[in-house]
């Protein structure tokens, strides 16, 4: 009777251990999926950051800024007679 009880206990423990292994694997998988999601997100953000930097560079390109300043805002490069220094 005692032996039977011990065997049952061991069986239960073995089962629990097996189930916990399955559970742990599942957790690892989930965590790995999470990492992969974050890595994909990092890549998307890298791509977007690169795109935004290029966009900024295109918008701030010297020829474009010069053209806008001259044409849209009617600005010109000041001659030395037009520059005054107000610094104390």
């Amino acid at each position: 009777m005692r032996a039977l009880a011990a065997a049952a206990l061991l069986l239960a423990l073995a089962l629990a251990s097996g189930l916990s292994l399955v559970w742990a694997r599942e957790q690892a998988r989930q965590a790995d999926l999470g990492i992969r999601d974050q890595r994909d997100r990092l890549q998307r953000l890298d791509t977007e950051w690169g795109r935004l930097q290029l966009e900024r560079a295109a918008l701030a390109a010297r020829p474009r800024v010069e053209r806008l300043a001259r044409e849209r805002f009617d600005m010109h490069t000041p001659d030395s007679g037009e520059i005054w220094d107000f610094r104390p």
Binding site: R29, G50, Q53, A60, R62, P63, G81, W84
Partner: protein
């Protein structure tokens, strides 16, 4: 009895069956286990290389000059590819390549081939939608150069594998490229990643690099040189702008240039950074260093009288000409009018070794120290090789060779009060100490500065470099170019080098135009370019112009609409 026999027989069969199963179990699990496990691992577990993103290159204000961004590349693992001829045709169409070419690549025996690298994301999606086994996409980084041709020679470019091939991309490749990582992943039968087992090597992203270049000044200098090359039909042109107090290279321009985003169609000649790699005979812009050496040794004074022989002199049987005939004039006038004979006589006054040492101190025959690949040290022969005529010609900048970068550095010595600094392409912070070396006394430097200021006066050869509101110092150069069998008729290097403002120089600039059409004088073709670059640069650096006698008083400042402080209303009362 019969039933008992049957039972026994069944028992025996079962036992045999179990024994067989057990034997196989032992064979697989124990005997062949190591081999089978290795096989399973090699099928399911893969090392995956994780590329490192390349660091950006920024100008001194943080504007991007080179940026990397992830793009997909399509690859195939030929042994795993299973595709029908129709599928291959569809794939070829998606990739926009010939079906025959594609089949050849798929027939390759290597485990990994790129089918098409750095493709648009849409194309990669179309390929993935086909869902062919053994065909996939990986992430790579593509390099973009927003400044394009304007800064092409400084920035250089990187190859498709992300390693620098030219310019700063090559010089600072270690900093920029970082280190790729490695992951151990488990894959299913279809080659999809199941999970990452471990990261064998973490990715180290490349470090961004901040250059000393000012993108705005670079653009202004490029435009100025490009227009001048076009107007005077010059073969090429270059400009270097320095900060004399830090040795920072603020702009470095070569024309013709190329677009680093589309390398095809640009020649090696276009890609050469001539301002750093080509040693040229500088001609008259070299004279101030000869004169500075003589002044420093006390052999002449600014007022010493030199006989310029009415424009023709013979040294060791060779003739030396002046384009502007003069008689007995001061050393100041020799510089102001750029007399070859005067400069030759001053050089002949000096000792070979002393003159050589002083020229070396100005950085001739030494690398400027930017670390730029292929940076030349020019040619400065050893003094025992100098004959009398050699010394005379070195006096006016022939028989030696220097790059535009070296000439700029030598002028920076004059602008920096006689202290020579190593040049740099990296932005230095205010607290970075730069170890300079005093090579010229302050007194000599001041004397030379005054002479160079006279060059830009209405009587000097460089009057076209004069700027309203600033005192400019500089020197013109018109050097006949050497060719096989002597100097070539009509082929000149027109140049202008100088700095401003004289009292506390903020910028040093050198402009050279190679083989312009007549009039080919440095004072005519190069000085206006210098003037334009300086005007722009001094404004960018907020050096205020000195009001001249004709300057109008400042206009009444515009009032802010929201201004309601007392000072403002008081101002209103006074007027």
């Amino acid at each position: 009895m019969r039933t008992a026999w049957r039972g026994r027989f069944a028992q025996f069969l079962l036992l045999l069956g179990f024994l067989g199963v057990t034997a196989q179990l032992v064979r697989v699990q124990v005997v062949r286990a190591p081999a089978l496990q290795a096989e399973a691992r090699s099928q399911a577990v893969h090392h995956v290389r994780v590329p490192a993103i390349r660091g950006a290159i920024l100008d001194r204000n943080g504007a991007p000059l080179a940026v990397s961004t992830p793009v997909p590349s399509v690859y195939a693992a030929p042994p795993e590819v299973k595709a029908s001829p129709a599928q291959v045709r569809r794939l070829a169409k998606a990739l926009d390549m010939g079906a025959g070419d594609l089949r050849r690549r798929l027939a390759s025996s290597s485990p990994f081939v790129y089918l098409k690298r750095q493709v648009p994301p849409r194309l990669a999606e179309r390929v993935e939608a086909l869902g062919l086994p053994g065909i996939g996409t990986v992430r790579e980084y593509r390099r973009y150069y927003p400044a394009g041709e304007v800064a092409a020679h400084v920035v250089g470019f990187a190859g498709i594998d992300g390693h620098g091939l030219e310019g700063v991309e090559l010089a600072y490749d270690d900093t920029l490229s970082g280190h790729p990582g490695q992951r151990l992943v488990e894959r299913d039968a279809l080659g999809r990643d199941i999970r990452t087992l471990r990261i064998t090597r973490p990715v180290e992203r490349g470090q961004p690099l901040r250059l000393s270049i000012d993108g705005r000044l670079q653009y202004a200098a490029y435009q100025a040189v490009k227009e001048a090359v076009h107007r005077h039909h010059a073969k090429s042109g270059m400009a270097v702008v320095l900060d004399p107090h830090t040795g920072a290279v603020l702009a470095l321009v070569n024309v013709p240039s190329y677009n680093p985003n589309h390398l095809n169609g640009s020649s090696a000649a276009q890609r050469r950074n001539r301002a750093a790699t080509d040693a040229l005979e500088p001609g008259s812009i070299f004279k101030p260093f000869n004169v500075a050496a003589a002044l420093e040794e006390g052999l002449v004074k600014p007022g010493t009288i030199i006989n310029c022989e009415q424009g023709l002199m013979r040294v060791s049987g060779h003739r030396i000409h002046d384009s502007h005939r003069m008689g007995r004039v001061t050393v100041r006038k020799v510089i102001q009018k750029s007399s070859n004979i005067g400069a030759a006589k001053i050089a002949l006054e000096q000792d070979n070794d002393e003159l050589w040492r002083h020229l070396r101190d100005f950085g001739f025959g030494l690398q400027p120290g930017t670390g730029f690949p292929g940076e030349t040290r020019g040619i400065l022969h050893l003094p025992y090789q100098w004959q009398r005529f050699d010394r005379a010609t070195i006096g006016f900048g022939h028989g030696i060779a220097a790059s535009a970068l070296q000439v700029a550095r030598a002028y920076a010595v004059l602008a920096n009060g006689g202290v020579r600094l190593p040049l740099t392409l990296r932005r230095r912070d205010a607290h970075d100490r730069v170890d300079g070396e005093r090579v010229l006394s302050r007194r000599t430097t001041d004397q030379i500065k005054r002479m160079l200021n006279m060059v830009v006066s209405p009587e000097g050869t460089g009057f076209r470099a004069a700027l309203d509101g600033y005192r400019v110092a500089g020197k013109t150069g018109t050097a006949q170019k050497p060719g096989p069998g002597g100097y070539r008729e009509g082929k000149y290097l027109a140049s202008f080098a100088g700095f401003a403002p004289v009292s506390d120089p903020s910028l040093v600039a050198v402009v050279m135009l190679d083989e312009p059409d007549a009039p080919y004088y440095g004072g005519v073709v190069a000085a206006p370019v210098f003037r334009r670059i300086m005007a722009h640069g001094l404004r960018l650096r907020r050096v205020p112009p000195q009001p001249g006698p004709h300057t109008e008083p400042p206009p009444v400042p515009m009032r802010q609409a929201s201004g309601n402080d007392s000072a403002d209303s008081q101002g209103g009362n006074v007027s």
